[in-house]
Symmetry: C2
Subunit: 211 residues, 2 copies
């Protein structure tokens, strides 16, 4: 089988197209062209055309794409139609926030359960079960969990990451503001809110200093 | 005044150093070298040394940096010591999650209030006031708010973004999975969870197909 690498930049743009398509009212025109999409999003026409051609063969000259079909094609390409079950480690403030966030279902993510060192017996948080850490391995093996979400403090994130990998997890969504070492074949996606805040506050202080 | 651009890559690494320094136990050695920091984080020595030299002049040959002073210097550089007040628009699931997240204080962010179209009279959510949208401008002007956090659906995010800019906001933290058009001088930092999920689920489907 030929290995086909999808450029990361494309993976960053596709959810934006999908989100725009989904945001259109039901009575919007049935077809949309790459040009119209590019204009609406303030992006380059050539880029949008190439991106869409990579995920859908439904584009017709002068007509464009059938809107609903294009949205489906993008969602399928991104894997949103295959629900991924995930476990979340660290049921603190941020962890509970994510547990209670219903928006993930739209992107094919289901947080099956949370685990926390401070929990000694199963309890429910935001409608999801929270288990003691000792039950992690058994749960992951039984449910064939491939994705782990880390919302523990930075100091213990590497240990939790190692535990998840030992339980068979292949993809890690890391909210702890720290670098994680992982073996080959494991993907870490960092959601570093501290970094975002650094970028924003740096911009504001530059503004206030009159740069 | 000379304009000094901080490379974005440095802004991405500094919070990682800071987080590591803060995670060390109180009885850890008082000094730390760039080399020790680089090794602990699995990063390049030369890069770490250059980054630290950019934010702190406390490094001494053979001794390294005084740990507490280095942490302070990084925090000051990142603007974490100057609290930024922000408003949050969209008190849905994700918005409320962020309102209730106490971890932001550590990074100098205080969400002063939230605003929502569905709110007609002030109410409290996660310990923070939530106001009707009509009160946004008055609040932002009075409190001199420079940062806005967008947690509304993608379809209305641009409108909310325009409203925030009209109220004097200069930096926008965008959680809506959509592209925002802004005039020069306004910074948008996108926190696109949909993108992260796309990257993760693409990795998992590639794994399962045996790539």
């Amino acid at each position: 089988m030929e290995r086909k690498e999808i450029p990361k930049a494309v993976l960053h743009r596709l959810p934006v197209y999908l989100s725009y398509l989904k945001s259109l009212p039901a009575d919007a025109p049935e077809h949309i062209s790459a040009t119209a999409l590019a204009n609406a999003l303030g992006m380059g026409q050539v880029q949008v055309r190439k991106d869409l051609a990579m995920v859908s063969d439904g584009g017709r000259p002068k007509v464009g794409y059938e809107r609903a079909v294009l949205a489906e094609d993008i969602a399928r390409f991104l894997g949103y139609d295959n629900t991924n079950d995930a476990v979340l480690i660290g049921a603190g403030k941020l962890g509970c926030a994510l547990l209670g966030y219903t928006g993930f279902a739209e992107y094919g993510l289901n947080i099956a359960a949370a685990f926390d060192v401070a929990v000694s017996a199963e309890r429910t948080e935001c409608g999801k079960p929270v288990y003691p850490m000792q039950m992690l391995e058994q749960f992951c093996r039984r449910e064939k969990i491939l994705m782990g979400i880390i919302t523990v403090p930075a100091a213990v994130a590497q240990q939790v990451c190692d535990d998840l990998i030992a339980c068979g997890v292949k993809a890690i969504w890391n909210f702890a503001p720290t670098h994680l070492d992982v073996p080959q074949g494991i993907l870490v996606q960092n959601e570093n809110m501290a970094t975002s805040l650094a970028v924003l506050s740096k911009h504001l202080s530059a503004q206030m200093m009159g740069y």
